[in-house]
Symmetry: C2
Subunit: 198 residues, 2 copies
């Protein structure tokens, strides 16, 4: 009996991770009852982000500018590059403030099962950045999964002819663990003990 418009709002919210149909209904009620305090700010924030949303042409991050805020941050060490699978990994590492360099987002990991090949990932742009001589160290920060490690190994081979130090996160990471879910302590330890790829 809720109107079509309210049902559409409920459905749009229910598609977000962490919100099911029931919690989406409660969220909608909250939005309707606190229009000025919640609905309007959310609407304005979405409008702004939608209007400015961009994928960074340098690193693959999503942000409200291109190049992104990380790539244009002059306080970061541009000569150190951390390669991650997903934007969520970049955000997790960035939030921890443990890595003072820049990033490169692959947009996935090599997977025979899912048919993901090197050309499906942001690898050419990575090679381009390294070949351009702008980088001294590449930190391979793939997930500690089979596919993540396969990807790291592939990248280390593609990069070995360049005069850069190639490291990867220490395997203090729990096996099968995904970067985005780790606590800061584990991330800090793994970064601190990063080691050259053999």
């Amino acid at each position: 009996m809720a109107s079509v418009e309210i049902d559409q709002l409920t459905n749009a919210l229910a598609r977000l991770p962490g919100l099911g149909p029931r919690s989406a209904r409660r969220a909608v009620l909250h939005l309707l009852k606190k229009r000025e305090g919640t609905l309007v700010p959310l609407l304005r924030a979405l409008e702004t982000v939608d209007a400015k949303l961009a994928t960074c042409s340098i690193c693959g991050n999503v942000d409200t500018s291109d190049p992104c805020g990380v790539c244009t941050d002059v306080k970061r060490d541009a000569r150190s590059l951390c390669v991650v699978e997903e934007v969520s990994d970049l955000w997790a590492l960035d939030r921890s403030r443990l890595f003072p360099g820049r990033f490169h987002v692959l947009g996935g990991r090599l997977s025979a099962l899912d048919g993901v090949r090197p050309e499906d990932l942001g690898i050419d742009t990575l090679i381009g950045r390294v070949a351009g001589g702008e980088v001294d160290e590449v930190v391979l920060a793939m997930n500690a999964t089979l596919e993540g490690q396969t990807t790291a190994h592939y990248l280390s081979e593609r990069l070995e002819s360049f005069p850069v130090r190639i490291t990867q996160l220490a395997h203090g990471l729990p096996v099968g663990g995904e970067l985005d879910y780790l606590d800061e302590g584990t991330l800090a330890q793994a970064l601190r003990a990063r080691r050259p790829v053999a």
Copy 2:
């Protein structure tokens, strides 16, 4: 390091019930990465609801039209009126499809503690509807809390001079339980066994 605009979106989402700061961040990432599938539909749905949002001048429901969809539904029995504390209670009862009549939302419950007096609730409009002779039965569907029952008792006294049948939900409801959280079976039983107010 996320942009101001992205932070604002995260904060707006984190204010919704069921989403904390961490899940709001994940939801934002999801929105940014699936722009067409999630961000745009949510934005459009919010725009539409914001533009049409109204409080029903008859019953106090929030909807995208005034009068609301419940009040204008000709398949409902206009002579039976269910009085609830909050819009969320109306939605819960409406979702269960157990009550075929119309509703009246008080917008709260009498509370000495919170300083809520009769004139702070939609009681005059309720009396007006009953005095207008449009109603045969008033179902008092307050929460089974002390304040809910105080409110029901107050309403039954205000309504006793009118030629209407006044009933309240049977107290199969768990003590302290709030309507909006009850399963349909409990709601059905309480409605079925509703009894005249002494």
